[in-house]
Symmetry: C2
């Protein structure tokens, strides 16, 4: 890569600069929502970009903190939205990586108590990690409910069926210092279409951290673990050859930075150029981790570069 | 007060030292749970202590972060447990003080969205502060529910019917910077009888703080506001003439310290002598606020001092 492109920090690139970057990198890690799609709508040009990178033989991975869907649903979604040729093996969701962590790293000996959606239970089932099936009576409270003694991990993810009783049960399980405390991710909130806010897993984790005085181990971005999953499953994934593309400075750019990857902010999602520049100017050295190396308006800006390459 | 007693920090006192303290103070502020009762059982001797102080003409106030009951229920409870002569006016609960704050300090112009139990709604009604009546359809979600535009405050207290939808709605209301964000208290958890944990309001507040990026204004201990309520409603309540008696260092002792009151830790509740001594030895200057001036095993230790006084 030439010197000009190699300059650090919030560099808005286009045309030949993007072409140089695409030539220099062998692996592309994409966040999903806000980067390649918005909910059920692909970002214009994104399917073409992803399809072309795969066709060119680049390693393409998807790293998403969204824990609500099992990976097989993602495969269908990719296909439905025009991303052809995406396999389940390329998808690293926080629920999948949490299951891998529990099975291979923590080697949990007991059941997992899940605060989360079906996506998490599905991935645990796939990984043969046992979890507690909840069958609460309608009048169950923390005073009268059963609390099995074989729970050895609490896993918190996005849960739109979150209740006080789940919080209370998890708090009780975590009184046992041998019970692991994991969170799929620490995202504080997600934007909804009409200006509403969807609280993220980070809210539920914070509640449980206050109740227990413990800190959760975060599996998703910005933790390194998702990259470790990728590099343990694919050979030759050298951080220097990777580009992390995302829309949220505090998760995606920090994740890239934590893993030693160059980072690109795309402005189709949550974070805007002004926020990136503010971090860039910050004198607090820990805030430099939020600064993207490169910035594009949309990943569709890759398309002219492909044409030059062809 | 004599010099020996006046020494600061974790001083375990008894007999004549307690007598001197009782003589020196005109006002006694008691936390309730863990200090004068455990749930539905009065701490042995506590009713006698409180009844005697009132009979002696001391000012006795109860300052509780428990927001779940309206004050009239407390009056009945006091009576039932043998505390005769306690009037509603002596009871400063976090729900009552929150209603006073919204009415007299914030002068809220709009409705309050309540995350909490009936005790809060009851006190708001009494204070003529309008709140949102919730009538969610069973299939309501943050995607489809109504969000009234006249909500100008969110008040978070203990809520055993807390749900994800309540969290999400509150997050949306708090996007309006003119919408106040209050919490009855910030208690992280409460012990239950069998070793279980009851998550406190502090958990729910933390969740909402993460979702909104805002900090709640705390009404209950350790905030000064409860003391301001007392001193605005009773004349001559000089901090130097007050003793704050509580069982939790991080709320009760800090509250006393914040209000310029001498403090007493009673060992019938949450915090133990070792924790108090640890704070006392701490070199972090902000931790000295958690150190009680005096320590007793139980407030029943007041009884022999009364006998000497008679």
């Amino acid at each position: 890569m030439d010197g000009a492109i190699g300059l650090k920090g919030c560099r808005k690139i286009r045309g030949s600069q993007i072409r140089h970057l695409l030539e220099a990198k062998d692996f592309f890690l994409f966040d999903c929502d806000g980067v390649i799609w918005h909910g059920e709508k692909a970002i214009t040009g994104a399917p073409n970009v992803v399809n072309t990178l795969i066709k060119q033989g680049k390693g393409v991975f998807f790293v998403t903190n969204n824990s609500t869907r099992p990976r097989e649903n993602y495969v269908h979604k990719f296909c439905r939205l025009g991303f052809t040729n995406v396999n389940q093996e390329q998808i690293f969701s926080s629920s999948y990586c949490s299951a891998i962590y529990l099975r291979d790293v923590a080697k949990v000996q007991g059941k997992v108590f899940v605060i989360g959606c079906e996506g998490i239970r599905n991935e645990l089932r796939e990984a043969n990690v046992p979890y507690l099936e909840e069958v609460d009576e309608p009048d169950a409270t923390i005073y009268n409910c059963a609390l099995p003694t074989d729970v050895k991990a609490v896993l918190v993810g996005h849960d739109d069926q979150f209740t006080f009783l789940k919080l209370a049960k998890a708090s009780c399980f975590l009184k046992d210092p041998d019970c692991l405390f994991l969170a799929t991710d620490n995202d504080p909130w997600h934007p909804l279409k009409d200006g509403r806010i969807l609280p993220g897993s980070g809210c539920l984790t914070a509640a449980l951290e206050v109740a227990t005085g413990r800190k959760a181990t975060i599996i998703g971005k910005p933790s390194r673990f998702m990259f470790e999953c990728i590099s343990s499953q694919f050979t030759g994934v050298d951080p220097a050859q990777c580009l992390m593309v995302g829309d949220r400075l505090e998760t995606d750019m920090l994740f890239g930075s934590n893993c030693g990857l160059e980072t690109m902010l795309t402005l189709t999602g949550i974070s805007q150029m002004e926020e990136a520049e503010e971090y860039s100017r910050s004198e607090q050295s820990n805030e430099q981790c939020f600064v993207p190396d490169y910035v594009v308006d949309t990943i569709a800006d890759f398309l002219p570069a492909f044409e030059e390459l062809d």
